[in-house]
């Protein structure tokens, strides 16, 4: 047991810094400096005392420098500092999951946009749901500096329970290897929908993680399935993409991380992306063969909206269904970009109606005007219509509405 530890950040909006010194006597003393002292000073002191009592600490000096941290952050920081001092404490200080977050997501859903948020930056976590990405990734991996990783877990755990995700898919990117396994304890029982597994190189890595997930599900009586999205970030991973995609039945999508991938193959990442073209195609092929969604990497220049749009159209043309976002401003462009175009929808409607016509006539040949439509084209049209319905571009009952009009 160490006698003292500190956690968190000073002078960082929506965060706090805490320092705990375990004493032999003298009871609990709390020294608070807060931007919101007159409004929430009492609340902060009460929470701090309640937590120390909860963890069985009787004599300690707790310093808090608070820059307007919300309760989920304050409690995460205090719990982290307590456990840094006394690692053997197993109890968790949890508040109930907010009612807004008691929703599940379907395996089959749009995953056009997923917004990466560093797991140790409460300021960015608080509003992430507002921008309506399809998914929010609380990142425990590369976005969090090594010294912050342990305490970020508490922030992410509390955020999953207490921050309104506004109906988006709650995703967490865990760390690699053992650290990633440990991360699971902080997310699986707390409402995560989908786990992103970084730097996947073979099916074994996925299976190993999934064993832990399934154990935690049993242990915590979690009924809903936890989905997986492996991230390919190396040459070996790209070669093994298909095996990885099939590694576990709860994998819903496969994606690629281009910064690490290009570094791994000894190339520079370019805007044009020749260096990763084959690997990206490999992702699409592996995902489609395994019946899951192929999702593209992120576009890193947040100021270049035109470049982003071009990269979306290129990704879409290769067969990708979504893209990572590193700024809320990219979400709308990504969502719109991956939605079918008006022309695509109109043509797909015509094909679908022609199919219906052909079926009525008992004919196996679908034709549009004088042109015969091949079965794969019909299949593609059906997929476009399904996407258009999911994207709220056309109503689910568009056919009936069309008939009503006529």
């Amino acid at each position: 047991m160490v006698k003292e530890a500190q956690i968190g950040k000073k002078e960082t909006a929506s965060d706090c810094w805490v320092h705990l010194e375990i004493k032999k006597s003298g009871g609990i003393k709390i020294e608070l400096k807060s931007k919101v002292e007159s409004m929430y000073g009492k609340a902060i002191r009460d929470t701090s005392e309640e937590m120390l009592k909860f963890f069985g600490i009787q004599n300690a000096l707790l310093h808090i420098e608070d820059s307007g941290s919300l309760p989920f952050v304050l409690t995460a920081r205090i719990e982290a500092v307590v456990k840094k001092c006394i690692p053997q404490i197993k109890e968790e200080f949890l508040t109930p999951i907010i009612p807004q977050n008691l929703y599940q997501v379907k395996r089959e859903r749009l995953r056009r946009s997923r917004l990466y948020i560093p797991g140790d930056q409460p300021r960015l976590i608080i509003n992430a749901g507002l921008y309506k990405p399809d998914g929010i990734i609380l990142d425990l991996e590369d976005a969090v500096a090594p010294p912050e990783k342990e305490s970020a877990r508490f922030i992410v755990r509390n955020a999953l329970r207490e921050v309104d995700f506004s109906g988006t898919e709650r995703m967490v990117r865990i760390n690699q290897s053992q650290m990633g396994i440990k991360d699971l304890d902080f997310i699986i029982p707390h409402g995560v929908h989908t786990v992103l597994i970084p730097k996947c190189e073979d099916a074994e890595a996925v299976k190993k993680i999934n064993v832990h997930i399934q154990n935690l599900r049993t242990q915590h009586k979690i009924k809903n399935e936890i989905f997986l999205m492996p991230i390919i970030e190396s040459a070996l991973g790209a070669i093994n993409a298909y095996k990885i995609a099939l590694a576990s039945p709860n994998i819903v999508a496969l994606t690629i991380g281009l910064e690490d991938f290009t570094a791994d193959i000894g190339a520079e990442r370019t805007l044009e992306g020749k260096e990763s073209f084959l690997a990206r195609l490999q992702i699409v092929l592996a995902a489609r063969a395994a019946g899951i969604q192929p999702i593209d990497s992120v576009f890193s220049d947040v100021a270049d909206e035109e470049g982003l749009m071009n990269s979306i159209l290129e990704a879409k043309s290769l067969g990708f269904e979504g893209k990572g976002c590193i700024h809320p401003g990219q979400i709308r462009i990504v969502n719109e970009g991956f939605a079918p175009s008006k022309n695509e929808i109109e043509r797909a409607k015509k094909i679908s109606l022609a199919l219906e016509e052909a079926q009525k006539k008992g004919s196996g040949v679908v034709s549009l005007g004088t042109k015969m439509i091949d079965p794969p084209v019909v299949k593609r049209a059906e997929r476009i219509l399904k996407l258009a319905i999911q994207n709220n571009q056309i109503p689910a009952n568009w056919k009936e509405e069309l008939k009503d009009e006529r």
């Binding site: 929470t47 919300l70 507002l130 309104d164």
Partner: protein, 518 residues
């Protein structure tokens, strides 16, 4: 402390600064019938025939103006946080041994912190005008001898016009002036666009001193301030810090939450049917307001709609609307950036206005009430749509009222606010200081949702079925309290010590500010 509860339910002491005050009686209820105040008769025989009113120094000008203890000295705030004149004024009169003056600025800024030593020394007795930064703290902590009086821009004009405030000496910093005292804000190194906030001062003060760092030969064209009102002209090396008077460029917010608020407002205006050919709007220079203008501009182009006029504070973004033909006029109260100044100088359709034309309660109507929509900020809003714009939730004075109260009279008033700042809820049970009655506030737009005042059944109807996140304000408050961990504790204040009073536009007192206990 003797006093009564006003029509808004706030306790108002009988007297402020030992003078009786009238408690707020309700919007539009207080209609005084006395005659306007008037300045003393001047005779041109007393002024130089060659029109040269230049005197060697500020001290000399004060001496000739007959400065005495207890006088009221006014300044304008077109130089914002770059003003160098107000500090010079009080340094000068301190040297002259003058005491107990009342400073009557149209607003004060953090650059005026040096006035604190003059308040401590009794050179300045108290300030009647907005106080923020160090002066706000000074007043909030009860260190000022007299009590502050906060008025909106329109209310300030009114207080001068109806004699509630008698200005003994007005000192008007002017970016360009001629020796006769004709002055404007259009040119010179300290160009600030216009001088509208000094208009009442020039018309009603006993003595008027122009201070300039750009003296040009007669005539100074155009004369935003008439030399015929002016007694003395003084030159000074630097009347302001140009980089702080005007920002080179004004910036649209990059905060995604604020951009979302801006987008919601623009969509609201479109869906409510306010966006139509010939409409008008006013938005400030804050990052959210600027972003709102950008979104609105897109909708205007899409719908092929143009505005008849927009009201400044002007910025590059409003100037673009004018130059792209999306509005016929900018009716401007203050320019916030270099593009605003340039446009006002060069474009006859970019017109300078004053609190008289835009806001004045004793005018025969004003422009603000004609606006179709105005977008404003607030520090707190309660569930009855009452709003605070002057104090922080800890009770400390934070902002001036500016034109905020006056603008509430527009056809549609929208408050754009984050639902909470740090951990502090903006939607609350009870505002710390009441500045605007809820009956004048129509819509509150936050990043978490939009609340429409239940009185505005027309807006509720127009927005029915909208995809915008419209919800009751109580629900917004509940959401915010869930996030922040309950309602905030009320500020710790000394209810026996009123440090400032908030006037309603008509001169009645709508609320008071108490000393904050630290």
């Amino acid at each position: 402390m003797k006093g009564k509860t006003n029509a808004a339910g706030r306790f108002i002491p009988e007297k402020i600064n030992k003078k009786p005050v009238i408690p707020f009686q309700g919007v539009g209820k207080y209609i005084p019938t006395y005659r306007k105040a008037s300045p003393p008769v001047a005779s041109c025989a007393n002024y130089p025939k060659d029109g040269n009113k230049v005197v060697p120094s500020l001290r000399e000008a004060f001496k000739r103006a007959g400065i005495r203890d207890g006088m009221t000295i006014s300044t304008h705030h077109h130089f914002r946080n770059g003003d160098k004149v107000a500090n010079r004024i009080f340094d000068t009169i301190a040297e002259m041994g003058i005491k107990n003056t009342r400073w009557f600025p149209s607003a004060s800024f953090p650059c005026h912190a040096p006035i604190i030593k003059h308040l401590d020394a009794g050179v300045v007795h108290h300030i009647e005008g907005s106080m923020n930064g160090p002066l706000g703290d000074y007043c909030s902590l009860g260190k000022m001898k007299g009590q502050g009086m906060l008025r909106s821009h329109g209310c300030r004009y009114r207080s001068v016009q109806d004699g509630e405030v008698h200005i003994d000496i007005a000192v008007i910093a002017a970016p360009t002036s001629d020796p006769f005292g004709n002055a404007n804000g259009l040119t010179g190194k300290s160009a600030c666009g216009l001088l509208g906030f000094a208009l009442a001062d020039s018309q009603y003060a006993d003595k008027v001193i122009i201070v300039t760092d750009n003296l040009i030969p007669f005539p100074c064209i155009p004369w935003q301030i008439h030399g015929n009102h002016v007694d003395y002209v003084v030159t000074m090396d630097d009347i302001g810090d140009p980089s702080k008077i005007i920002s080179g460029t004004t910036q649209i917010t990059r905060s995604p939450a604020r951009l979302l608020i801006a987008e919601y407002i623009a969509r609201f205006i479109k869906e409510a049917g306010i966006l139509k050919d010939g409409f008008s709007f006013q938005a400030g220079a804050g990052g959210t307001s600027l972003a709102f203008v950008m979104y609105l501009k897109e909708f205007m182009k899409e719908a092929n709609v143009k505005a008849r006029f927009v009201r400044g504070g002007s910025t590059k973004y409003l100037v673009e609307l004018l130059e792209e033909g999306l509005t016929d006029y900018i009716l401007d109260g203050q320019t916030f950036d270099l593009d605003g100044v340039r446009s006002m100088r060069e474009n006859p359709n970019h017109v300078n206005t004053s609190p008289f034309t835009s806001y004045n309660y004793h005018g025969k109507g004003h422009f603000a009430s004609m606006l179709d929509v105005v977008v404003l900020g607030a520090t707190e809003i309660d569930i009855n749509f009452n709003a605070n714009v002057v104090t922080h939730s800890d009770g400390m004075l934070l902002h001036g009222i500016g034109g905020w109260q006056d603008c509430l009279f527009s056809q549609n008033t929208i408050l754009a606010v984050p639902s909470f700042r740090d951990r502090i809820p903006v939607i609350v049970n009870n505002v710390t200081t009441l500045c605007g009655p809820g009956e004048l506030i129509d819509v509150v737009v936050t990043e978490k949702g939009i609340a429409i005042n239940p009185q505005r059944k027309d807006l509720i109807k127009a927005l029915k079925g909208s995809s915008l996140p419209i919800k009751p304000i109580e629900e917004l408050k509940k959401e915010v309290e869930q996030i922040c961990g309950g309602a905030p504790s009320p500020p710790k204040v000394d209810k026996k010590r009123v440090v400032a009073a908030i006037q309603w536009v008509d001169s009645t007192i709508i609320d008071v500010v108490y000393r904050v206990i630290t």
